[in-house]
């Protein structure tokens, strides 16, 4: 599904990613761990097409060269990023945002736009799965949401947009114990043989709930170690010193 070869990324001549290789197949869950500043969020941004990076190397998504696609085209093709810091957009109703977003994605796929009633039904179903009070959805997007509420809202968007590849950037940070479980359940219930996850995290506890097929350690913009789900437990004990 996703094939990254020798990816480099620079900002203002500062090297952030330095020859990164990664291959993700449908049905797989990959976790990325690594010290602060190692380039995890940068990888997520480069994959979703944020402006401002000077990149080299190759990224193929479903056989297509990603560098040819704009941010919104990538999103429409099924790349979803749950932000480490979800943005506040004052004045914009959360429901309206969700619906506009879903309809853009549907339109791009050649599907019919969803009418208000069917949309509300869908949102109701998905938000109750995540234990999100419907009142939230009539508030301004992320404005005044607590840290954890913002993260939950990201997962709600994922469940509504139904991406092929979901990149979760530290979605577990800031979640309370119950919310962590709810979010993990949300991911597990969405997971199937056709989609894939790239989960960026600092903590093993999320990986206790969502069993990854691979764990990668990122250091200075490179993957320096890849292992199975046990690697996380090891890292928790020893820290990164052995790998970087």
């Amino acid at each position: 599904m996703l094939n990254i070869k020798n990816l480099e990324a620079k900002v203002d001549n500062k090297h952030i990613l330095n020859g990164l290789n990664l291959c993700i197949k449908p049905g797989e869950v990959h976790a990325i761990m690594g010290p602060n500043g190692s380039g995890k969020s940068t990888l997520a941004n480069v994959l979703s097409g944020k402006n401002g990076y000077d990149t080299n190397g190759e990224i193929k998504f479903d056989g297509q060269n990603l560098s040819e696609l704009s941010t919104e085209e990538r999103a429409q093709k099924g790349i979803f990023l749950a932000f480490q810091y979800p943005l506040e957009i004052p004045g914009v109703n959360t429901n309206v945002f969700l619906r506009t977003s879903l309809n853009s994605v549907r339109k791009a796929k050649g599907e019919k736009e969803l009418d208000t009633l069917s949309f509300l039904k869908l949102v109701k179903e998905k938000s109750s799965e995540l234990g999100i009070d419907e009142k939230f959805l009539s508030r301004q997007l992320n404005v005044g949401f607590s840290g954890g509420e913002k993260k939950k809202n990201e997962i709600l968007q994922m469940k509504i947009l139904q991406p092929k590849l979901a990149i979760l950037d530290e979605t577990d940070s800031g979640l309370d114990i119950d919310a962590l479980r709810i979010v993990a359940d949300g991911v597990n219930s969405y997971k199937n043989k056709d989609n894939a996850f790239l989960i960026i995290t600092h903590y093993q506890r999320l990986l206790d709930y969502i069993k990854p097929d691979f764990i990668h350690v990122l250091s200075k913009g490179k993957i320096v170690k890849t292992g199975n789900s046990e690697l996380g437990v090891e890292l928790e004990k020893t820290g990164y010193a052995n790998f970087i």
Binding site: K50, S70, T71, F83, P86, P90, G91, V92, F97, S101
Partner: protein
């Protein structure tokens, strides 16, 4: 004066009205021109005298120059003051002759082809439904005793009301442009709502259908008698072409005891091209008097057009407990300039005013909020709340806020909040990541920014205005 023009006017006077299309006052601002206008409108003598008085006062007045947007000197002797309706040969023959940019905007707004033509003064063969709509509409209003007609008709048929209220809010010699309007106004609307009557519809449909040719010196007078209510909507989301560069309209509102007037404007006159060539100067005087106790006047404006917008819809809060509101969105793009805001003058006790202004600036445009809140010494327990937010798109545009605050009563309070933000690249990225393209993202964010004002518009118009806001800013980011 050319003899031909004179001859035309003479003929008109004697009833040769068939050739009305070719009538035009000669160029120049003088007594002859004013007499010509008054004559052609068959005005009573008092009206002509009123106009001439204004003209005399005008001679002593100077064009103001304190505003931020500067413009080339206007030669008032080189303008036509009456030239309506246009003769068929002067009008564009088909839409092919219209700026393609405007046509594109029509398409986006979903304006039907016939209406597009009408907006540009192209003769339309198809009979408009609107004529019959307007008639049924009038019947319903007449039953309630509501008067809604052109100001010219009101001068003839309702002289007592016009005499009593015209110039009672904007005095004859108020300032240069207002006085100019008093001398040479051509037409406009007149509304009278009798006591304890709620106008059963937005006074808008009729206006949109009929007022596209009222010309550059428009005059509107709205009177809400005791305990009445009216909502009036002026303008149109579709951009209108006009040969007259200077627009100096006067709008006067009078609300008596317990009456309420809601006046909404959507202004989308031609802003000039991307290089700042052409475009309308929109120098309008709008003022409302809350004359009675418990009365209320609420101005809502969405200003997206014109090369220069220069206006301050105001409320004079005379009656005790009266309320004034001003909700404004001013969008400037490319080389457009706006210097707009409001004046709230608190005279009565317990008067309240609220100002919500949203200025959006893109391209090389300049956007200025200028507002006066004045509490006079007898206006005890009065309150004002002002919120001015500016949104900048890009690095070459400007936003400025100048509040003038005068509080002469210690029991009264004035509150002012102002913010300036730049449209945030991160917010746009977030929207893009969710599948929205740049235009959809800008539209979403900007409409969110303007929400409090858009909400004030009559329902059916809010949706159109929302689209207009997005269209006005197209291509201004990224």
């Amino acid at each position: 004066m050319k003899t031909e023009d004179l001859k035309n006017s003479q003929e008109y006077k004697y009833g040769f009205t068939t050739d009305v299309e070719n009538i035009r006052a000669p160029k120049g601002l003088n007594e002859e021109t004013i007499k010509f206008i008054s004559n052609i409108k068959k005005e009573p003598k008092w009206m002509l005298e009123w106009r001439l008085k204004a003209f005399n006062r005008l001679k002593a007045l100077k064009e103001p120059d304190w505003q931020k947007p500067k413009y080339p000197k206007i030669n008032y002797q080189d303008l036509y003051y009456y030239s309506a309706p246009k003769s068929a040969s002067d009008k564009p023959k088909s839409l092919d002759e219209i700026d393609p940019k405007i046509l594109e905007t029509y398409k986006k707004l979903g304006i039907p082809l016939d209406e597009q033509k009408r907006l540009n003064g192209i003769a339309v063969d198809a009979v408009f439904d609107s004529v019959s709509v307007a008639t049924t509409f009038k019947d319903e209003l007449t039953k309630k005793g509501i008067i809604f007609c052109s100001i010219s008709e009101a001068i003839q048929k309702h002289p007592d009301l016009v005499k009593k209220y015209l110039g009672s809010v904007i005095p004859l010699s108020d300032h240069y442009f207002a006085t100019l309007n008093s001398a040479v106004f051509t037409d406009g609307s007149f509304v009278y709502i009798p006591p304890n009557t709620r106008c059963p519809m937005e006074l808008s449909t009729y206006f949109r259908i009929n007022a596209s040719e009222t010309g550059q010196f428009e005059r509107t007078l709205i009177i809400a008698d005791k305990g009445s209510y009216v909502s009036y909507l002026e303008g149109c989301t579709a951009p209108m072409r006009d040969e007259n560069q200077l627009h100096a309209a006067n709008v006067e509102l009078v609300a008596l005891d317990d009456a309420e007037i809601k006046y909404s404007t959507v202004q989308n006159w031609y802003p000039g091209d991307e290089n700042g060539v052409g475009g309308i100067y929109n120098f309008v005087t709008k003022r409302g008097a809350c004359r009675g106790k418990n009365s209320k006047i609420s101005w809502t404006q969405v200003e997206t057009g014109s090369a220069i917008t220069w206006k301050y819809p105001s409320c004079i809060l005379q009656g005790d407990n009266s309320v004034g509101e001003f909700y404004s969105i001013a969008i400037t793009n490319n080389h457009q300039k706006a210097d707009t805001g409001t004046k709230m003058i608190h005279l009565g006790k317990n008067t309240k005013s609220k100002i919500i202004s949203k200025g959006i600036s893109a391209g090389k445009a300049d956007n200025m909020y200028r507002g006066l809140v004045e509490v006079k010494n007898k206006a005890s327990n009065s309150r004002n709340y002002t919120q001015c937010d500016s949104l900048l798109m890009g690095n070459k545009c400007g936003a400025h806020t100048i509040p003038y605050i005068k509080n002469n009563n210690s029991s009264s309070t004035i509150e002012h909040e102002a913010t300036t933000t730049k449209i945030n690249e991160e917010q746009l990225y977030y929207c893009n990541q969710r599948g929205l393209n740049q235009e959809e993202a800008v539209s979403l964010i900007v409409n969110g920014f303007c929400k409090e004002v858009l909400q004030q518009l009559p329902m059916e118009f809010a949706v159109e205005a929302q689209k207009l806001v997005a269209i006005s800013l197209e291509g201004s980011v990224g």
